[in-house]
Symmetry: C2
Subunit: 469 residues, 2 copies
Amino acid sequence: MALADILAERPARREGIAGAVAVLKQRFGERLVTGEDVRRAHAHSTTYIPNQMPDAVAFAESEEEVQEIVRICAEYRTPIVAFGTGSSLEGHVNAPQGGISLDLSRMDQVLAVHPEDLDCVVQPGVTREALNAHLRDTGLFFPIDPGANASLGGMAATRASGTNAVRYGTMRDNVIGLTAVMADGSLIRTARRARKTSAGYDLTRLLVGSEGTLGIITQLNLKLYGIPETILSGVCPFPDVRSACDAVIQTIQIGIPVARIELLDAQSMQAAIAYSQLDLQPQPSLFVEFHGSQGSVAEQAEMFEAIAGEHGGGPLKSAARTEDRAQLWKARHQFYWAALALRPGAKGIATDVCVPVSRLADCIAETQADIDAAGLVAPIVGHVGDGNFHVTLLLDMESQAEIDAAEAFMARLAERAVAMDGTCTGEHGIGQGKRSYLRKELGGAVDVMKTIKSALDPLDILNPGKILP
Amino acid sequence: MALADILAERPARREGIAGAVAVLKQRFGERLVTGEDVRRAHAHSTTYIPNQMPDAVAFAESEEEVQEIVRICAEYRTPIVAFGTGSSLEGHVNAPQGGISLDLSRMDQVLAVHPEDLDCVVQPGVTREALNAHLRDTGLFFPIDPGANASLGGMAATRASGTNAVRYGTMRDNVIGLTAVMADGSLIRTARRARKTSAGYDLTRLLVGSEGTLGIITQLNLKLYGIPETILSGVCPFPDVRSACDAVIQTIQIGIPVARIELLDAQSMQAAIAYSQLDLQPQPSLFVEFHGSQGSVAEQAEMFEAIAGEHGGGPLKSAARTEDRAQLWKARHQFYWAALALRPGAKGIATDVCVPVSRLADCIAETQADIDAAGLVAPIVGHVGDGNFHVTLLLDMESQAEIDAAEAFMARLAERAVAMDGTCTGEHGIGQGKRSYLRKELGGAVDVMKTIKSALDPLDILNPGKILP
């Protein structure tokens, strides 16, 4: 979506908002903050869209308070932008029409762990790291890992995934049920705790990925998994990106239940080696991880190495010790910062296309050629087992020409992915930045989404200006 | 829902319906059938709800024809009931308000198989057996197996699952995207072919399980899986149902990736042994299946047998040969007929609760006591790895007292499951039969469902009288 269009969206809600802020101030006192620093921190965006601050930030501490805040905002036609940790990537927490940022980070309790059912119940402000710390003595873990220490409410709202999705699925697959406050202030629970159900419409999946535009998630029932008996990670170099992709395709096709399979292109490897001091070569590489019994993990690794060898890759440099594995994945997770170090002063903007895995090599090759032709600096990493990859554009935000070139590149990338029967966003969501691509990808389905949005939020107070074009 | 309420739902749509039938007859000629036999066959119900015939049956052969039929029905405010093979279990294909049964069985083409992406594209009338026959030479299969040779469109519409769900998930997890004709006749595609996406609302999951009340599914993009290198099935007897359940709980908790784990109580075993001539004892038993490499399958079976032994079960009588496995699962799938043979002349009505697996033993034990106290004949089988089990009530439909007792029993069973944080339906759907339980299970979420239904089908023409109370 062109920047001018986004900035133009600020209808005359001002009077209502002032009323809502006054009432909320009276009710919540110091938990309703209007200071600029706090407002700014609740609206940052990692896109090229500037920070669009809310008028105030409300810190909720219970479901009842969320209901109260939503009811007040409904009365005053005031936008509400749910906020977890602010690690979203498409301007989800920006407030283009002003209003209230509803900070859920204080709702950070793990309410129940049911080890016998492999599930737990958490408040939305619990982060994934906090949950896994809480689970430490149970032998269980929550696998979804988008890199950032995001809140679980935010991860559900954006349908996040990350490195483990190839084996464990995304937030779509790992939320059993949730509670949410709807636009009229009512609190609903979408499902009970059974592992499967055919009882009515799947409101769980409707709210997962709705980016705070249909309801505010206030509780989540999540699947948990036993920590595997054996975990083996490793790095496998390849002569070029295409051969690495071909190895990925074959790995998936043959059914190796790989837990992680991440691509770093040569430039990304160079950045990661420098930033995280890895003893590796700057060749296109796959970071892999296998979970299972000792025998199964050994078998998986052996099969993978054989496939890699067929494509000119290898050897697999494995990291079986916990600290070596941790170093490896820390390097992968720090990639954003490593990339920034490639071009000091630049801003990093992540794209997020995802294509059928058979088209992955083509899509990456065409994209690399496009990056070169456009004269951009843009290393590529990806959750390639899912067909999902990120081009991290390193941009000089002072240069309008560069921003224009990046915008044009991103549009071409989205179109390329859609032409290959893929999506403009595998895991980051639409937010503000990708709204203009949605109709190209899904056509008339967007009108169905709009009908649902109008029916469930007729005043358009829940995160307005997001997802729908 | 009480029978009287269901039968009372027939508003004055008669004139419109007559108009729609006349227009459709003109347009579709012999593919618009009004003969009673065909109408009756398109409305049978395996509940105690009587057959409620549509006014006509339209046989569609393309998406465009589905659009045309829906537009004509919209013009004449005429109900449309989508029909696949008619194997649904809760009166989904009954036409309580009359109207058109839209038979999709002639849309039976496998449109594409993408072995490299492990997916396929099918029309809704393809049955699961037809798809697997089509896939025979590819080394791939579609795992969801509800027993009946249902159409894939119908399976998606009811969010079906079956014996393999514990390993491969349900239709919810295995539909990548779909196309559907909405109530206004528009055709939408909910997702492209990428394995994951965060692009907007999850309309795929909204339509899966919507039982034809939000749209008519006209195409499905489904996940496929490699046929496992090794498959091992077996039967393991237990001294009682509780010890079998406890073994299931431990098997799931420890993370054995069992592909199937089915419980048959003593009465069910007796029925299956007699009907399918099995060389087994009439003890409560688990039918299990393991998928994987040779080493992994042996390991899984060994671990399972050890767990069974701890609970007094075993030995595992295994069936590694294809024909032995086929006989075993055929016996499981023929269970409904086997159960009927326990009480000749009776009608079999299947219940479908699903609870967190930790509550499974309690739920089954309380239910067996309830069956005994109510004086009903009702063997129990279940997809116990998911916490899902079916009580098959064998009823003399001539006895109103028995029907009343069954209705009261079913209501208690649904309440028991909900009280244990479970659902009244794990896989059959709500249809007509379970509408009265939905609000008890999901409270105000039902109002959100109604809002969505009203927004997407304002004339209430898509399968009216189903799901929503």
